[in-house]
């Protein structure tokens, strides 16, 4: 062997050694890490540096003949993750220009891509029994073709890397499974915690707030809206970060039916109906989640963009479904609780009102010779505001009042108390009925809101003269029926009390003779309803009066009440029923 030969041989041995030591070095490095990205980067960078290759990438098997770019060097980063369908991935090194002739159809997307990017060499990554993917390299800077030795080196590198790659892939999968499990676990914890918290409150505002926190924190959003159904409408109850939302989506019929029929989370996308899409996309809403109890959609949560732009996963949807339904149950409980409390409150209030009212009506009636006094008040279930009173001023003077206060419950009762106190104070002071009525009107006007008023009838009967002076402020006109059956209506007076101040009233005067009867009543009598919702009316009242007017006052009274009851036939009445009767007896 000549010296030159020796030198050449030595150089070859040196090169071979370098190659081996580089392979050894990379194999050491590869087996020391389970980080897939760092494994792949090393597999690309080592040969690129050694052979001065300008670019390279790694394709890895994603199953079903799909391969994606999992690492790249010298190529635009946007290609990272790009996936191709490759049915015939080579199992031996392939020099691309030659390979192009081998493949039947040159127009496959991945071939096009490799050509466009000027990639030249495909080295398969073979593990023991399958092809994991391929290393793809561009040309060498020297412009020379790859030598057989170089291809051998790359193949050795690829073979050495196969195990490390498959381990890292497996590790990455396990890692991702673990992460998914952790996420699931975290989601379940949230549900559990929120559930406990939701169940411990009956305050709807607080429930909505908690729901908002959980949505924002778990889903990484900061825009949401919550619609709840009340009767047949969906109303906006809470929102964050969104403007110009429709208060009542039922104004847009498509949205209303979408909300009503919503059973599973619904993604607003290109295929959504135009009108609906416009409404939601404009507001950055892209997921609608139903809030259900049993099979009914009682509310809808609208979610805005996720800040990290990631799509909603299967688990996210399940999480949202569960959270939404749980919150709905709590909201429903809160509503029922509130309703019960309000009903109780109302019942208590009515009981108080009934008591006040009972105490305002005279317990004992004054007594006069030859004068029968009868009165009855039948409160309705809802407590109206009927009032009557008898005041004996001296042996000959009897003041009789009948009135109907608007409204019901405690406010009506208090107004009635006010009225009673005014009359009792003024009856002894002011003789003139019209002046007294005007005075009472001013007092009531000053003490009430403009929507409260009283129909009022005041009369002052002087037994010594038989004269009944009266003033009627918008009350159903009382009837006077003489012993011969002729009728008179007491309708002189003026406007109902409490509407306007400083009014002037007219007074009326009738002379009563023995055998005459005065019948006063409230609209609870004439407006009593039967099952057909027809009113009892004055005609029916007059029929009874004309039939019974010769009877004692108590019989007239019971006849009228019986007639009204027979007419109503158990139909619930919404107003009080009050009847006051004065009957002048024959002197004997």
């Amino acid at each position: 062997m000549t010296d030159i030969d020796k030198k050449v041989k030595l150089k070859e041995i040196d090169e071979r050694l370098m190659e081996l030591s580089s392979l050894f070095e990379i194999s050491k490095l590869l087996s020391s890490t389970l980080n897939l990205q760092s494994v792949l980067n090393n597999i690309l960078l080592t040969p690129m540096g050694r052979m001065m290759i300008n670019k390279g990438l790694v394709l890895l098997d994603k199953g079903s003949n799909y391969y994606s770019i999992e690492a790249l060097k010298g190529l635009p980063h946007e290609f990272f993750g790009k996936t191709f369908q490759i049915e015939d991935i080579p199992n031996h090194p392939v020099f691309l220009p030659l390979f192009l002739n081998e493949v039947e159809n040159n127009t496959k997307p991945y071939i096009d891509f490799l050509k466009q990017q000027n990639l030249k060499l495909i080295i398969p990554i073979n593990s023991s029994n399958k092809i994991l993917g391929a290393l793809v390299f561009g040309g060498k800077l020297s412009g020379l073709d790859y030598s057989e030795k170089e291809i051998d080196y790359l193949l050795s590198l690829s073979n050495i890397s196969a195990t490390a790659i498959s381990n890292s892939v497996m590790f990455q999968e396990i890692d991702s499974v673990n992460r998914k499990l952790d996420q699931t676990n975290q989601g379940l914890n949230t549900l559990f915690e929120i559930g406990t918290e939701l169940n411990s409150t009956l305050d709807a505002a607080k429930i909505l707030k908690l729901l908002g926190f959980a949505l924002m924190g778990q889903m990484l959003i900061n825009k949401y809206a919550i619609y709840l159904k009340s009767e047949d409408r969906f109303e906006l109850k809470d929102s964050k970060g969104l403007r110009d939302l429709p208060d009542c989506p039922q104004d847009v019929p498509d949205i209303y039916s979408l909300f009503k029929e919503l059973r599973i989370p619904y993604e607003v996308d290109a295929e959504t109906d135009d009108e609906i899409r416009e409404c939601f996309i404009e507001n950055n809403i892209n997921l609608l989640v139903p809030m259900m109890i049993q099979d009914e959609t009682k509310g809808v949560i609208c979610l805005g963009d996720r800040i990290n732009k990631s799509p909603y996963s299967e688990f996210d949807r399940e999480f949202l479904n569960t959270l939404a339904n749980q919150a709905m149950i709590s909201l429903e409980n809160a509503r029922l609780f509130k309703e019960t409390v309000e009903k109780q409150k109302m019942e208590e209030e009515l009981a108080v009102a009934t008591e006040i009212q009972n105490n305002l009506l005279p317990k004992r009636f004054p007594e006069f010779d030859n004068l029968e006094l009868e009165a009855v008040n039948i409160p309705s279930k809802y407590v109206g505001g009927d009032y009557y009173d008898f005041i004996k001023l001296d042996n000959d003077i009897l003041v009789t009042v009948i009135a109907d206060v608007s409204g019901k419950g405690v406010p009506a009762s208090l107004l009635m108390a006010n009225l009673q106190a005014s009359i009792r104070a003024l009856a002894g002071e002011i003789e003139d009925s019209a002046v007294l009525t005007a005075k009472v009107n001013d007092i009531i006007y000053d003490n009430t809101a403009s929507d409260k008023f009283i129909t009022f009838f005041y009369s002052r009967f002087d037994k010594s003269t038989g004269e009944l002076e009266y003033c009627n402020a918008g009350h159903n006109h009382p009837v006077v029926i003489n012993r011969d059956g002729s009728l008179k209506y007491l309708d002189e007076g003026g406007l109902i009390l409490g509407m306007l101040p400083d009014l002037t009233y007219k007074k009326g005067l009738v002379k009563l003779n023995p055998g005459d009867t005065v019948i006063m009543y409230t609209d609870g009598v004439t407006e009593a309803l039967n099952h057909e919702e027809e009113e009892f009316e004055e005609t029916r009242l007059m029929e009874v009066i004309e039939k019974e007017y010769k009877s004692p006052a108590s019989i007239i009274e019971s006849s009228i009440i019986t007639a009204v009851y027979d007419f109503a036939d158990g139909y619930p009445q919404s107003d009080d029923l009050t009847l006051v009767i004065l009957k002048l007896l024959d002197d004997e």
Partner: protein
């Protein structure tokens, strides 16, 4: 339920909230109030130091989400610091590190504000 405390210390135009204990659905309103107070006072440069936070749940994270846009639109930020690995894991699982600046130490967050 374990307790939750939040303490505030102002350093010039930066406000630091020290949170302690359990930040969950139950205590989230308390934390929300603390941040709301800062926003009301127009103190938008906020650091939340989580060194004594034992537990955080989604509802707690929801509070951060509820404020971040508003605060950033006003030129401020919510920076987080000193979280334990257990707390960090929850932030990480839900993808918070991409959206929030998280620092090992409060001083780094202060520096960041001062250099900005």
């Amino acid at each position: 339920m374990s307790g939750f405390e939040v303490e505030r210390r102002d350093k010039e135009n930066i406000s630091c909230l020290y949170v302690k204990g359990f930040l969950d659905a139950h205590t989230a309103p308390q934390f929300e109030e603390a941040i709301q107070n800062l926003v009301d006072e127009e103190r938008f440069k906020i650091i939340v130091n989580l060194c004594d936070l034992t537990y955080i749940s989604s509802a707690g994270l929801g509070v951060f989400m509820g404020f971040i846009e508003d605060i950033r639109s006003k030129g401020g930020d919510l920076k987080l610091s000193n979280m334990t690995s257990k707390v960090y894991k929850v932030f990480d699982l839900l993808g918070f590190p991409n959206l929030y600046e998280i620092y090992e130490d409060e001083n780094e967050a202060v520096d960041k504000y001062q250099k900005a």
